[in-house]
């Protein structure tokens, strides 16, 4: 019986983790003031104690609604990141956004997503301007 319960819980965990996020339903986006590399290890609670700027949801949604999820086996090294949180279905999620390449990572589902190449320039520019605002905090 314990085995069946364990398998059931594992199945639920795996299926939840593999679900693509409906980014259009996200809200309350914030970018935090963290040095590029140190924030990868921060928890959501630690992050939320730091200075932040509110991100306009319509602006970020215009980008991330077009993002494509990477296969589970595909990863990338990080050379700096922007750290943001958003809310989805009442849960606060931490999203790490790479300073290059247009990819980002949802820490809750351990999933990588990537902005299409034709939007990447605008995406990076926009993130950079947001970081400039955060740095003034």
């Amino acid at each position: 019986m314990k085995n069946i319960l364990g398998i059931f819980l594992l199945f639920n965990f795996v299926s939840a983790a593999s679900q693509e996020i409906n980014w259009q339903k996200t809200s309350d986006w914030k970018m935090y003031k963290v040095n590029d590399d140190s924030g990868l290890g921060f928890s959501v609670d630690s992050l939320r104690r730091l200075p932040f700027v509110q991100i306009e949801s319509d602006s970020i949604n215009n980008f991330i609604k077009l993002a494509k999820i990477w296969p589970k086996e595909k990863t990338s090294i990080w050379m700096g990141a922007y750290y943001v949180t958003c809310q989805l279905d009442g849960v606060i999620r931490k999203i790490d956004i790479s300073v290059y390449g247009g990819f980002f990572y949802d820490e809750l589902t351990h999933s990588y997503y990537q902005i299409p190449s034709y939007l990447r320039n605008e995406w990076m520019n926009w993130l950079s301007s947001l970081k400039g605002r955060v740095n003034k905090k």
């Binding site: 040095n35 590399d37 990863t75 700096g80």
Partner: protein, 465 residues
Amino acid sequence: MSKQVIRLGFLASCLVWLMGCYKQHPQESAIIDPVAAAREYVESYLQLKANNPAAGTGSPFTAANRQLDWEHAVANKSGGLKSVWVPVHYPASKYIGISLDRHRLFNTDYLQKLRVWQDSSMVFHTELVSYFPDSNYVYGKGTFSGIVLVRDWQDHFIGEYKRGKDGRIVKMALFSPQDRSAKEASNLMMIQLCYYSAGYNESEGYEAYYWDIDLGCEVYDLEEGGHATGYDEAGQYWDSSEGSGGTTTDPPAIPNLTIVGGNNIIGDIRDYTKCFDNIAGYGQHYSVSLCVAQPVPGTREPWGFTRTLPAGSADLVSAGHTFLILSQWDMAGRITRNVGFYPANSASPFSPIDKGQLNDDEQHSYNISLTIEMDNSKFFAVLDFIAHGNDPGYNYDLNSNNCSSFAIRALRSAGINLPFTVGSWPGGGGFNPGDVGEDIRSMSLPTGMTKSTEQANHPNWGICY
């Protein structure tokens, strides 16, 4: 005596005549600095805080929030008249979509300019000019194409024009929705192609709302096989800089209009570094800073591992970063540009090669740096090396041509050969930020080099047109 009186009288007459000549052209002093003159006029006479012009539409372009960026104002000749173009910004810049180009988003901070000009009677006029590019327009390449919307400061409509990639300009029709449907029903030989820009605003503490901007309609008469509303007198919005003769096929009236935002990804490295002057002597100073963000500060670790998965493997691996800050300065001021080298998409030990991509790293932090002062020839040798970073076929390689290798090679191209450690890691090896940082820390520096473990802000600085 009488001769002396005559001489003195003659000299006095000349002096009076010369002063009279000077006084006959008082307006010359006003056009010496057209930007200053325009600013004085706008700040003295223009009602900067307009009365709620976009109420009800939810438009992001609300007059009450407009800020004029005089620092980046430029003067040129458009429509045969000297004009000053002032970028218009809003406190919270937004990205908006435009139906002319569904594959790009545009920053509202870069879409609007205030045009200030004087007519032949030296009377000032102003227009608020909004540029909505179409999919043919690529920033920095060729002439602007898309829709130009012209309003007064209080947002009263003045005119609207569309310019195709062939340079042809048509005046847009601004029909009400009722008129559009009536025309469509009554004249089947006429087609209207209407454009809009739209978005959805949602900000903390405010009720979310939808907004749109009507960009007008283009009318095609199928019987005549062409536009029903041809127009060719909107040249002032596309005229080139002073001395061009004012042709309508020149670059846009704002040749430096940055349509899609800043320069985080450096699309055109030569344009990005064009402000640097290759001048020997004359009080010019040049330096290149090698900035390092170590994955684990203070150690030679090539990777920083964070967040361990249940299976025991780390899912986020930081490689740190190395980038360059290029500076030129003299008594007149400083020019600074940040450049880093990255993969265009991604890289990992399992997939180490990708197309290379230069990036503006002005927002990137670092924990140790080495600054090298050099002469103009060495500085421009570094620039020449960097200029190849975006070349087709020039690849990023996590092992042999990563961000650290690129920066070190840029310095070596100028004959600056510093000893850096080649590290190794499972599956590969090469220069890396961990080793470069520690190498800098232990270096005995010759004259002209300084190191620092204090990070200062390092924004790009200096603009040229």
